[in-house]
Symmetry: C2
Subunit: 762 residues, 2 copies
């Protein structure tokens, strides 16, 4: 093979070389808060395992497997893994958590109490029974991380165009990944050294009569005592043909039941099945020797992922003989086993080779103009080589000793920490906290029920969902393909909305639109004695609005007009509808939530000042800023102080017990208002009206605001029992999911039911 | 009946009293440009008469009847009538126009050459045959205007609540409209005096042996020689019961064939049929004695409509005896006939009564705080009473004499004037010229094929269409219920659009999005030698964009980044795609138009300066401003002068013959660019690509921009034959309908076909 290094440098392909595509898989055991293996089934809320793309069970019913989609950078893949972690933790019983180690917790004494995953397909169950028999159930309880790695496709195409050795792109690609795999297998001991995190087995893991390691070691899992095939399984990585033939022969000989039983640290992948590999050549490789890192909340840190990336780049970069493939592999396996079984606190026997690899990596970084962070990661690896106490396994041992903890206790401490973190802000989702809350909740619900999620544009809250091959795009969690385009345009225009609702027979505040004060003046006699509102057509935040609840003098009316015309060229003069405003959230013809919004307020306790009461109320974990929490912090700015003043108060006033002070006139949650769920308190009559009104607008997802003077009145038997004042095509969802008071309504689930009825989890 | 006047004044109902609902119907004869009755059929482009709500034929195939919807003000109804006029004129053969008089043009000598309307329903034809036999075909060729009038419903409800005489609203309403009708019948001679416009009949209209008026008169049509029933038809307006009974009796006696043969100047209306009247009481009245005013382009002026409104208000206001209903009616008929047969140049015999009515009307205006315009209209009527030469009929006669014209010649002159006006700016539509051009064109096409149009919000270009009971809302002529909501949101986001198209396998300019200059700098090596574009993510008008067609130095790249980051926090660095940009307009899966847009330019003639050439090019009637014309005027502002400077030119430079000077870099039609239709020049391959790309976006109405380096290349056989650079969810339509060069593509018709396939006119 030509020097890849030269091909890259001479043709200026450094930037393409740096790109990657990566997907992670991570297993871990469900345990009780005490660290005992869970006796419960896989959570029902996670939907059916037969299709769930991201959350599966591996060998046992307790062994959760998380699978991320493929990403093009390290940050995104770890974030997504974090999200899956949170989804699983919050889907499990609240008395369960995830075991943070590769080595399993203390296992039940009897093998039959280790429950094989209850999968629907009987062949999947049969395979697991075979594994239990062939390797023992306990070995199968080990967990780890798989790292699916691919170079950028265009990078490979560019290299291919510039080389002359291979005829087809597929041949070239296969040769390239074989080289990486061989080199990785040869040097993988360094990864075991750096990231090995399985120093000790719990009692009962090895049987009495079994050969076992001299614990502590760097990684039982990566040693010959770990998750490996029997000794008589050897597969060559010299050529793809030999690799395939060897596996086929082993299956033929009954030494492997099928391809996936081949537990190599590097598996060649052509697609989903072995046949894909034959047809398409190697498309990517699966690195399988990463232990769960207990110090990382999700089992692996972004730095580890990035270091592995550089390491794999180096495995391509590194030129060496190719005529000794099988030999190299055997040397690699031997070195790895030795290093895996070293005491973590001792220096490795292969320091010199390790430092050589590091030096080579650094040289590569120099030649490809690498970022400072990559140098930092390589420096750090060197530091770990020189100071073995800084490796993960050694740090674990040090901690056991310093904190006087058993490994079990240590694992419980960390598991609990990650568990607490997952339950802390249950309305947010790791990896997506920069997105709007409603979108975070929808992503959570999607991941939970097995709908694939891809963020198309973060700042635009644009996500792509896929279920059973069907793609749906969603923006702001409430804008979907189910609504037709003209409906939101209609709702964006107050005049149009009113006209349509009015024509359909719903009560709306009637009124006029004016472009001139002169014309507006003329209608005074008509409204003089009725309640009315003067407002600019387009503004939304109360600016320029005057409300006359029981008529007004000609002078007051004209002043109100003047104020409104300052804000807009179009002014509306509308009937005033007295009553309480409720938001009805209608999805697919059904009212899924009714919300009462109360302006920002505090209630006195007889001793605290308004300022103190606000501070206290703001401690509610549901309150935050910028729509990243279901409620917003109450402010004490100019508007709030003015509002207090109108009530004869200041921020230093002490309120009597039960005395309520309002800090805002408007009831928006975005200005600190309270959200109170009223779904069960509002009669079905009003829900029917809301549903019919939404239907008449043609909307599928809609927040519609009704003014109701007395909710006990039957609107079908009484005139003017309600009025519709607005229909919203981008209604906030998070406040319904996590209200200040009352029951939460998971509207995001309703939207998902609408988009994918077949994904509904009962 | 209680005094209506008192009920209005005492309860402050003046403003409600002033409101009205009005619909107009107007008949006229199709004639050749020489003024001969047309021998052609009703235009096929107007769709089927069996459902057309606005454009019908009355008695003969040549007698077009225009029917407006109901409006709440005079301006809108006249505007709409104007629109219907333009639609009909532009749908007729270009050698035909509309006769502007109530009296028909010279009719064919033989009765059989007057063709009865070719209607689908045989009973409609039979009825017309009966009329021809009963009244003679010639009488049925008279045209006129019907004025459907209704008071505001809330006004009537308010009055009803305040009176004590009637038990039910329906009874009250019926009494109220009966009063108006009786008074109108009594005083209608004043309308005949003011608006009579049928002084002379053409030769052959009356047969030799027939009794005929002593011409000229004020209105043959409104006299006993006009369009009236036979003498033995008398119907009482005393009560609704007597009205119904009398008509029923006349039908029973064979004196009327059916209710609609009752040619009263006031017809009571309860709905569509006589039965509705019985069930619902009177809902509105139809005033039928208005002659076509030849001085008004559409047969009636807004002032006339408004005067009739005030006159009808006065007919309600006016208190009088109710025990002499039949007598009043007979007096009214007699007075009207007398006035109708007066010589228009002579003073009327009933001046005193007329002045009395005027005085009463003025008093009413005083009591209801009327606007200045209403006083003006009443003053004007008084002026006409005092000076008979100012009446319409008299003005016609004066003109015949002064200009030495026959009535026929006079009518041709005016018909031609209105005809010319209708053909002048064929891309605009009377009554909707304030709306965007695409919406005007769509309204035209809708009215033409019989789709009902209601403007819901003018400034928002929001219209409601109804066909066969099915409602569709349309905004900007291209936003409809056929597109789903998430698709335009997708297209509004360039990143999302590119991702989706790229994943679907279409070529798009690949690239990156950056939030920081530092990160953007790093990719320089990757793009150094390729063509690329640096641009702010969100701006649209070329601001902050740098194009490097063949790579750039590191310095230039960084400068371009700095410029782009000044415009936006997100900057895109994208592959540059060389070639010509074409807009493909895809509707419902089919490319309906392909457009090449060329930047504003002029071509020299060897003697004119750039400034002169621009002036000349701007004289094209297709050029205008503010999107009210298919092309925009070319400006000579700072940008254009700078652009000239770059070509070594000023506005005073004389261009050689054939020399082209560009005045803009961007090709937008909105900055004076030329639109060139290329639909027939572009191969179906590219159309297929555009259609498939639009399909992959899920869009139904979409303008998609392809860069094509060489349109002769087959994109299915060549790599990089095209690139998609944008998909537009609000693509301009008018430029396709009326291009600068090439064939017009009536995209609005395609949208209507999509919304209402069953309305399609072949």
């Amino acid at each position: 093979m030509q020097s890849i290094k030269d091909l890259i440098i001479q043709n200026n392909n450094q930037e393409w070389f740096k790109k990657l595509r990566i997907g992670l898989e991570k297993e871990s055991q469900r345990v009780t808060l005490a660290g005992e293996l869970a006796a419960t089934d896989h959570p029902k809320t996670l939907g059916a395992r037969k299709y769930h793309p991201n959350i599966q069970t591996d060998f046992s019913e307790t062994q959760v497997e998380l699978i991320t989609p493929v990403f093009e950078n390290e940050h995104d893949v770890v974030s997504y893994l974090g999200a899956l972690h949170e989804v699983v933790l919050r889907s499990m019983k609240q008395e369960e958590m995830l075991w943070p180690l590769s080595m399993p917790p203390i296992l039940p004494e009897k093998d039959e109490d280790i429950i094989i995953a209850k999968l629907e397909k009987f062949e999947d169950v049969l395979y697991r029974r075979y594994l239990a028999k062939s390797y023992g159930k306990r070995k199968q309880m080990v967990s780890g991380i798989h790292y699916n790695f691919e170079f950028n496709k265009q990078f490979i195409e560019k290299l291919f165009e510039e080389q002359s050795e291979y005829q087809t792109l597929s041949q070239f690609k296969t040769a390239l990944y074989l080289k990486v795999s061989r080199n990785y297998l040869r040097y993988r001991w360094l990864i075991t050294y750096l990231f090995g995190a399985a120093p000790i087995s719990e009692a009962g893991y090895f049987s009495e009569d079994e050969e076992k390691p001299d614990e502590p070691v760097r990684s039982i899992r990566n040693s010959k005592f770990g998750y490996t095939n029997h000794d008589d399984v050897f597969v060559s990585y010299e050529t793809l043909e030999r690799y395939e033939q060897d596996i086929a022969d082993l299956i033929e000989q009954g030494k492997l039941s099928e391809e996936k039983e081949f537990y190599s640290p590097v598996r060649l992948r052509g697609g989903k099945t072995m046949a894909d590999l034959k047809n398409a050549g190697i498309q990517y490789i699966e690195i399988r020797n990463i232990d769960n890192n207990p110090f990382a909340p999700y089992g692996i840190t972004e730095d580890q992922v990035e270091f592995l990336h550089i390491f794999l780049m180096y495995m391509l970069w590194l030129d060496n003989r190719t005529d000794n493939a099988d030999e190299l592999l055997k040397v690699g396996t031997q070195l790895n086993n030795e290093v895996a079984l070293e005491n973590p606190l001792n220096m490795t026997n292969y320091l010199t080779e390790g430092l050589g690899v590091i030096a080579g990596m650094r040289q590569m970084l120099d030649e490809i103009n690498a970022s400072a962070n990559w140098y930092y990661l390589v420096d750090k690896a060197e530091e770990l080589l020189n100071d073995t106490r800084k490796t993960i396994a050694a740090q674990m041992l040090t901690m056991f000793e310093e904190e006087q903890l058993t490994q079990h206790e240590f694992a419980v401490v960390y598991a609990k920490e990650y568990y607490d973190k997952a339950w802390e802000k249950i309305y947010q989702l790791e990896g997506f906290r920069d997105m709007e809350l409603s979108t975070q909740i929808m992503i959570f619900d999607s991941l939970q029920r097995g709908v694939e999620v891809e963020v198309i544009d973060r700042s635009d809250q644009f996500i792509k969902l896929t279920f059973n091959g069907k793609v749906e795009y969603v923006k702001n969690a409430n804008m979907t393909s189910k609504d037709n385009y003209v409906v939101p345009l209609m709702m964006a225009n107050k005049i149009v909305t009113k006209k349509v609702l009015n024509e359909a027979g719903f009560r709306v505040p009637l009124g006029y639109e004016f472009q001139s004060l002169e014309r507006a003046r003329l209608i005074y006699p008509e409204i003089a004695k009725t309640g009315f509102v003067v407002k600019p057509k387009s503004t939304n935040y109360g600016l320029g609005i005057s409300i006359f609840k029981e008529g007004a003098s000609q002078e007051d009316y004209e002043e109100a007009l003047a104020i409104a015309f300052k804000e807009d060229t179009d002014v509306l003069v509308e009937e005033f509808l007295p009553g309480t405003e409720y938001r009805f959230f209608v999805i697919d013809g059904k009212t899924q939530g009714v919300m009462l919004r109360v302006p920002a307020n505090v209630m006195g306790d007889g001793q605290s000042t308004v300022e103190e009461l606000v501070k206290k109320k703001n401690q509610d974990p549901l309150r935050g800023t910028h729509h990243r929490s279901p409620l917003e912090l109450i402010q004490l700015g100019e508007i709030e102080r003015l509002m207090l003043k109108e009530q004869g108060l200041t921020i230093h006033s002490i309120l009597e017990e039960g005395q309520v002070a309002y800090l805002r006139e408007n009831s928006n949650v975005s200005t600190g208002g309270d959200s109170i769920d009223m779904t069960d308190e509002i009669s079905s009559h009003y829900k029917t009206i809301a549903e019919q009104a939404v239907l008449s607008l043609g909307a599928v997802i809609c927040g519609i605001d009704l003014i109701i003077p007395d909710k006990e009145v039957n609107p079908f038997e009484s005139k003017n029992a309600y009025g519709i004042i607005e229909a919203n095509f981008n209604p906030a969802m998070h406040m319904h999911c996590f209200p200040y008071q009352g029951k939460g309504r998971r509207l995001t689930q309703n939207v998902l039911d609408l988009l994918y009825p077949e994904s509904k989890v009962i």
